[in-house]
């Protein structure tokens, strides 16, 4: 329980750095999917290595933030919710990394007719997570703005669901040239990409309730 220390300033810098890491991770994820769908293997592997580093960095930052908050008894009343929020934000970059890894390990065959949809899906799902970051930053300075910033998160999450549904429908209803195994594989990959926006939505729900409590 320290008064007049630099801990708080250092911690706020680290929290910002954590948010930056997640944000860059989302950008890399989108570029990675784009590279895979376009068949640019080198670029894809570069993005894979980069997201792996970023995920490791986010984990380290998350642990150090949590440690400091416990040791210096920072935000004692909101601590458990803060830890949950950090965990959910970290889950976003984890899911993004896992998705790219699935592409790398399982090498799914994405038909050329689905390229555009796949890129769009990763864009929209990534947008949902990306829009979460300004809201998370606002929570620390202007909690009254959090709710309006979260509207975009919910919007992109719904768009992701719609797009994912359309692609799945197209795959199973129209693309008879694909085998059932290929269709199932595509559905599985779509589900992974969708997961990013779902995690963003969970984090948004938590953030919204935390912001309301701050404003009361």
């Amino acid at each position: 329980m320290s008064l007049f220390t630099r801990t708080n300033r250092e911690l706020s810098i680290r929290i910002d750095e954590f948010f930056d890491t997640i944000e860059i991770g989302i950008l890399i994820f989108r570029e990675g999917i784009k590279a895979y769908v376009n068949g640019d293997t080198n670029a894809f592997q570069n993005h894979l290595a980069k997201i792996d580093d970023l995920e490791g960095k986010a984990d380290k930052l998350q642990r150090s933030i949590e440690n400091d908050m416990i040791i210096h008894s920072i935000l004692p009343q909101q601590r458990s919710e803060m830890f949950k929020l950090l965990g959910q934000l970290d889950e976003i970059i984890d899911t993004a990394k896992k998705s790219l890894n699935e592409f790398y390990v399982e090498i799914p065959r994405i038909p050329a007719s689905l390229s555009h949809e796949f890129i769009s899906l990763s864009e929209v799902s990534g947008n949902s997570a990306e829009e979460l970051m300004p809201a998370a930053r606002a929570f620390f300075r202007e909690p009254h703005l959090v709710r309006e910033k979260l509207i975009k998160v919910y919007f992109f999450e719904r768009e992701t669901d719609k797009l994912a549904f359309q692609i799945k429908k197209k795959v199973f209803h129209e693309m008879n040239e694909l085998s059932l195994a290929e269709k199932a594989h595509i559905r599985y990959i779509i589900h992974h990409i969708e997961n990013i926006s779902d995690t963003a939505q969970d984090a948004a729900d938590l953030l919204a309730s935390m912001a309301i409590r701050q404003m009361l």
């Binding site: 329980m1 008064l3 007049f4 708080n8 300033r9 911690l11 706020s12 929290i15 008894s73 920072i74 935000l75 004692p76 009343q77 929570f139 620390f140 300075r141 202007e142 909690p143 009254h144 409590r213 701050q214 009361l216």
Partner: protein, 399 residues
Amino acid sequence: MILLFLTSGLFLGWTLGANDASNVFGSAVGSRMVSFTRAAVTAAVFVIIGAVVQGSGAAETLSRLGEVNAMGGAFTVALAAGLTVYFMTRAGLPVSTTQAIVGAIIGWNFFTNNAVDSGVLTKIISTWITGPVLGAIFAYALYHLVKTARRRIKIHLLKYENWLRIGLMTVGAFGAYSLGANNIANVMGVFVPSIPLEDADFGIFVLSGAQQLFFLGGIAIAAGILTYSKKVIETVGTNLMELSSEAAFVVVLAQALVLFIFSSSSLSDFMVRIGLPPIPLVPVSSTQVVIGAILGIGLYKGVRNINLKVLGSIASGWITTPVAAGILSFLLLFVVKNLFSIDVGHSVNPPASAGKGMSMAAIIRYSIPVLLFITAIYLVWLILSEKKKTERINKKYYE
């Protein structure tokens, strides 16, 4: 011998420190914003300073209510108040040291055939009501101020919390100072007329006789804070509602301001100088002011359902505590005087004769049986309803 007689006052001081200190820093410690040791040491130091520097105003008002002119009387009055607080707390009834000491002094007045100054009594009783009301008003205004300021300056949450932590320590110290200044009258007020000590010259400052007594009382309160308040915070805590750190800051500040207002003679003099009526310097119950402050924050947040039982318990405490303390004081004075042959005081200001109309004292004298009856019924109702509630919970739990 003086120390022996002072023990009851010191005991009262100890219980006050143990119980009321949680009003000053209970929520800060409960929210883990401030460590207990740091808060307790700060509170202990500032309670003593407040008692010595600013304790005389409220003590003087209590003396005017009943100038207990024998050490035996002062001992018994403080003992009666202490025992009332102890037994009512054990019975789970709402109680305040402030109201107990007032009741006990009135009991002494009756026993020694001294008139009760109705003006002083009205002044004291009016502050019991205005104290929580002022607490609510201050808390409402301060909470609005804090919230607006935070929104305007867009401060980072971590930085804001750091400031709040510093603020909690500062207002906690101010709260402890005000608690000492205001509530020392409850602990040592009755001893001031009966124990005339000589001034003590320490070279750089002089302590008057009353201030020496207040110093001793302050140490007793500090001892209560250091030895037992942690247990009180852990077991009772802030049982009204869980407060956020900024609400805790506002509650402590509002309480400190109210206690300060009712104990600052310079502020009262200032009011007179600018042509306003003087502020009554009266001991007020810190717990009730805190309840008022929490209510103020609740109103700001737009709480619709106010627990009327809590408010009812405050109002019932205004009657039950002084009546119980008064009766106990009367009985104890009788025992001490007749069984141990100790001088408990004499009449210096007999009540006006019945022929000149009914005096305030006479009204109170005749209303005692009525109040006793009401109190007894209230106690029976409380015990029965508590029993019924326990049975209902047990039934629900085991079924």
